[in-house]
C-alpha cells in the first residue's frame, strides 16, 4: 500500500491564519506599490476635528 508523505513543515498549517495574500507575484507587487498607496493618505479638516472634540466634551 502506498502511503502519501506530508512534509513536516506543511502539517498543521491553517491557511485561515494567514494574514497576507499567499500569491507570491501579487505579494511582491503589493510590496512595490505600498509607497505609492501611502501617498493617498488624507487627513480630515481641522474644522471637523474641532466639531468632534467639542461634541466629546459635552456631557
Amino acid at each position: 500500500m502506498t502511503k502519501t508523505f506530508t512534509p513536516p513543515n506543511q502539517k498543521n498549517v491553517s491557511k485561515t491564519e494567514t494574514n497576507e495574500p499567499s500569491n507570491q507575484p501579487d505579494q511582491h507587487f503589493y510590496g512595490s506599490i505600498k509607497q505609492q498607496l501611502n501617498k493617498l493618505y488624507r487627513e480630515p479638516s481641522e474644522e471637523t476635528i474641532t466639531k468632534i472634540l467639542n461634541y466629546a466634551k459635552k456631557r
Binding site: K15, T16, T18, N19, E20, P21, S22, N23, D26, F29, Y30, S32, I33, K34, Q35, Q36, L37, K39, L40, Y41, R42, E43, P44, S45, E46, E47, T48, I49, T50, K51, I52, L53, Y55, A56, K57, R59
Partner: protein, 203 residues
C-alpha cells in the same frame, strides 16, 4: 498648527482600550489622542470609498459622534478592538449613504475580468489631464475602478490597517474570501498599471 499634535506623552503610551476606559470614566480629553492615532486611517478609508472630500468629512464626523454616543451610553463591547469597531461604524455609514442615494459606489464585477474596460469614465478637463500625469492620481482612479468588494478589502487592509480576520468579520465573509479579494484587487491594479504603462517605481 494642528489641533491634536500636542498630546501629553503619557497618553501616547496608553492603549486604545485604556483610553476608552478613561473616556467612559469622564476624561473627555482622551478622544483627542484616539483621533490623533486613527484619523488618517479612518478618513482615508472613507474618502477612497465615497470619492468626495466633503462627504468623507461628514461621514467621519458622524462615525465619531456615534462612537462618542456609544461610549457614553455604556454599550461599548470591551472585547473588540477600537479601530476595527470604528471602521465598522464608518463602513456602515458609507453603505447607508449609498443606499439612501440609490447610487452604486463604482462598478461591480464578480471576478474583476472586465475592469480594464471601465477605466474611461468621462471626458477629462485640461486640469484633469495635468493631474493625470501624476502617478498618485492615476493610482487613486485605479482603486476607484476596482470592483467594490476588492476595493473594500484593499482599503481596509492597507489604509485602515485591519487584519484579514477583522476584514472578514466586518464584511461578513470568510477569511479566505477576504484574502482572495485582496489577490484579485492586486492583480487588477497590476493589469491597469500595465495598460497605463505606469512604473511602480515612479514617484
Amino acid at each position: 498648527m494642528g489641533l491634536i499634535k500636542h498630546t501629553p506623552m503619557r497618553l501616547q503610551q496608553v492603549s486604545d482600550q485604556d483610553l476608552v476606559k478613561l473616556y467612559i470614566g469622564g476624561d473627555e480629553s482622551v478622544i483627542e489622542e484616539l483621533l490623533r492615532r486613527h484619523k488618517s486611517k479612518i478618513f482615508t478609508s472613507i474618502y477612497l470609498l465615497v470619492k468626495d472630500q466633503y462627504l468623507a468629512e461628514d461621514i467621519f464626523q458622524d462615525a465619531f459622534i456615534k462612537v462618542i454616543n456609544t461610549l457614553r451610553s455604556g454599550r461599548y463591547n470591551e472585547e473588540g478592538k477600537f479601530l476595527p469597531w470604528v471602521m465598522r461604524i464608518a463602513h456602515n455609514l458609507v453603505i447607508d449613504y449609498f443606499r439612501k442615494e440609490k447610487r452604486t459606489p463604482t462598478i461591480t464585477s464578480a471576478d474583476g475580468t472586465d475592469v480594464l474596460n471601465l477605466i474611461q469614465v468621462h471626458e477629462e478637463s485640461a486640469e484633469e489631464r495635468m493631474l493625470r500625469e501624476q502617478t498618485h492620481v492615476d493610482l487613486r482612479k485605479m482603486i476607484h475602478h476596482l470592483p467594490d468588494e476588492q476595493k473594500e478589502v484593499l482599503i481596509m487592509r492597507h489604509y485602515a490597517d485591519l487584519s484579514f480576520k477583522e476584514i472578514a468579520e466586518l464584511t461578513d465573509v470568510s477569511i479566505n474570501t477576504a484574502l482572495g479579494r485582496m489577490r484579485y484587487a492586486l492583480s487588477n491594479l497590476r493589469k491597469m498599471m500595465n495598460v497605463k504603462e505606469i512604473s511602480v517605481s515612479r514617484s
